[in-house]
């Protein structure tokens, strides 16, 4: 039904058709072309629709296996099992679903599983909220997975497809989380350019994995049932430490392919401006409009869109911010995790303004960014 083509052909060479779809439908279209063996679902707002639509293409024959798990922890465990068994898997979750499954994300990385998971972010709070919020990304920063943050449905489609060859390289082989701001991206329609439906990615080659396909006689499972894991001695500690270092190294090795497929870990408009706005996700779209309005007022402002949160574009941001007088970081969460990341890597970090910051489902008016620009310009 579909012809296997190289990732480069699918991403860059094949003609694209423009369709007017939601972010959830963009997930479906990416998975349709990703040669996925197994997809496992569990509903959680605002993700539910995406895995429902993935179920539709299972029925159409684009996916070999699809089922609903008992809960998010069960789903993330099941996709781990499938990935250890040597097949390409996909799932999606968001908000409280992410937290319910949390232990598994570090397990995926530690077991070197190239799982691709879409996270449709939402608030995590009591009283219960279903509104857009990126706070779960803060919690996931140190799970070992690669984290890509989509600005819109086009990004979501592209990043999801590209996540598979990034994740599955022998030297990388860790999970990729593709994040999209819930509702803003998942539930709104926009123009998305998609590759022809009759082509797909090459299949996953488990025999080039850096670990053997799962076997209960092999670590990590063997390690769990051997006393080794519980030993209080230097030899055991050193093995565990080296293991964790290797997972961090794997993320570092992803930088070249992320740069190649995504056109860099970040992209910049007007890099030499005195005031830079650095952000990710849908805040980029709002910041872009604010930059345009600032220009009409005669204010010279640059925009940095961070596409890849892990590995973090440390050197790129250091270079970009070196001569900037102010760095404004708008975010859709209460903790300001991106501002903290940026502050932690540049020497003169008192010029980083962690604002505007909105949450609880509030939108981010362009005026709130303009106000910060004017304050920095004064």
């Amino acid at each position: 039904m579909q012809k296997v083509v190289s990732p480069e052909h699918l991403f860059f060479e094949a003609p694209r058709e423009q369709v007017f779809i939601t972010g959830s439908e963009a997930v479906r279209e990416a998975v349709r072309r990703a040669n996925v063996d197994m997809a496992i679902s569990y509903p959680i707002t605002p993700q539910s629709e995406s895995m429902h639509l993935v179920g539709d293409i299972f029925k159409e024959g684009y996916i070999r296996e699809y089922f609903r798990g008992e809960n998010e922890f069960a789903v993330m465990s099941a996709v781990a099992g499938a990935s250890m068994g040597g097949v390409r898997v996909f799932t999606a979750t968001g908000g409280p679903g992410t937290l319910r499954a949390f232990e598994l994300f570090s397990t995926w990385s530690g077991a070197r599983l190239p799982i691709v998971c879409a996270f449709m972010t939402r608030g995590v709070n009591s009283p219960l909220t279903i509104q857009p919020d990126t706070i779960e990304m803060s919690y996931l920063l140190d799970t070992g997975m690669i984290m890509l943050h989509a600005e819109n449905a086009q990004d979501l489609y592209d990043y999801l497809l590209k996540a598979f060859p990034i994740a599955e390289q022998t030297e990388v082989h860790i999970p990729v989380g593709v994040f999209a701001d819930g509702f803003f991206v998942t539930h709104t329609r926009e123009n998305v350019k998609v590759a022809p439906v009759d082509i797909k990615l090459p299949p996953y080659n488990a025999y080039s994995a850096p670990v053997p396909v799962m076997d209960m006689e092999n670590v990590p499972f063997r390690q769990m049932r051997d006393p080794f894991v519980m030993k209080s001695n230097y030899v055991s500690y050193a093995a565990h430490a080296s293991w964790q270092q290797e997972v961090m190294a794997a993320a570092e090795r992803a930088r070249p392919s992320i740069s190649s497929y995504l056109g860099g870990l970040l992209e910049v408009e007007n890099a030499d401006a005195d005031i830079l706005i650095i952000t990710s996700g849908t805040a980029v779209s709002i910041a872009r409009e604010a930059v345009a309005q600032a220009k009409q007022e005669g204010l010279n402002v640059g925009l940095v869109k961070i596409k890849c949160i892990r590995p973090f574009p440390t050197e790129e941001i250091r270079a970009l911010t070196k001569n900037a007088k102010a760095v404004i970081v708008p975010e859709f969460n209460r903790v300001g995790w991106l501002a903290k990341e940026i502050k932690s890597i540049i020497p003169d970090n008192d010029k980083v303004v962690g604002a505007p910051r909105v949450f609880g489902g509030m939108t981010m008016p362009t005026q709130s960014i303009l106000a910060e620009i004017r304050r920095c310009q004064a």
């Binding site: 022998t170 082989h173 961090m248 570092e252």
Partner: protein
């Protein structure tokens, strides 16, 4: 991030970093790594031969990808590695699987990626060659060796290579192993003939 981090024989310290985190990048096709720097594949082959021939007690550590005939061509590659070890005059200690075996391991006859230092210390190995070991386990072992021993590590990798080895080739196949053996034999003849 330092671009000058060198991957040298240890003992480097209590918990040396992964070389990738220190800015060492994997070689591209046709390239290799020598002590953290990118060189041509050919230059690395000669460095490997020199290291092996100047070693006091070199050993090869073949892993499961080479020890079991799990697909066509593996037996031929295993024989080629055996021929290479014989040409060097090196010993062979297998890494048959990755199960942690401490403290029950017999380091005289086996190496394990979770505690490779025990086998290196026990046998007083000064240069070792990883071949046919799954990349994750090779990297775990290479860091532990660099941290706690003075052994010089070489990785003949069939995939993308290893930053944590002192010398690493990538895309190693039967022809590459045979090419290395030919270089070793040629250098031995030069040494025997008094040439350089």
């Amino acid at each position: 991030m330092s671009q000058e981090y060198q991957v040298l024989a240890g003992p480097e310290g209590y918990l040396p970093p992964a070389a990738a985190v220190m800015g060492v990048e994997l070689p591209k096709t046709g390239e290799a790594l020598v002590e953290g720097s990118l060189v041509s594949d050919n230059e690395a082959l000669h460095k490997i031969a020199d290291k092996l021939l100047s070693a006091k007690n070199p050993f090869f550590f073949p892993g499961p990808l080479l020890l079991w005939a799990w697909k066509a061509g593996v037996a031929e590659r295993a024989q080629a590695v055996r021929d290479l070890a014989d040409a060097v005059g090196a010993g062979v200690i297998p890494m048959p699987d990755y199960r942690p075996k401490y403290p029950m391991i017999n380091p005289a006859i086996e190496i394990n990626p979770n505690h490779p230092n025990l086998t290196i210390w026990h046998n007083k190995i000064d240069v070792c060659v990883f071949v046919g070991v799954h990349c994750h386990y090779a990297n775990i072992a290479l860091k532990i060796i660099r941290g706690g021993t003075s052994c010089y590590t070489i990785a003949l990798c069939g995939e993308a290579g290893h930053e944590d080895a002192m010398i690493s080739l990538r895309d190693v196949n039967l022809a590459k192993i045979q090419e290395l053996t030919a270089i070793v034999m040629d250098k031995k003849r030069q040494i025997a003939g008094g040439g350089k």
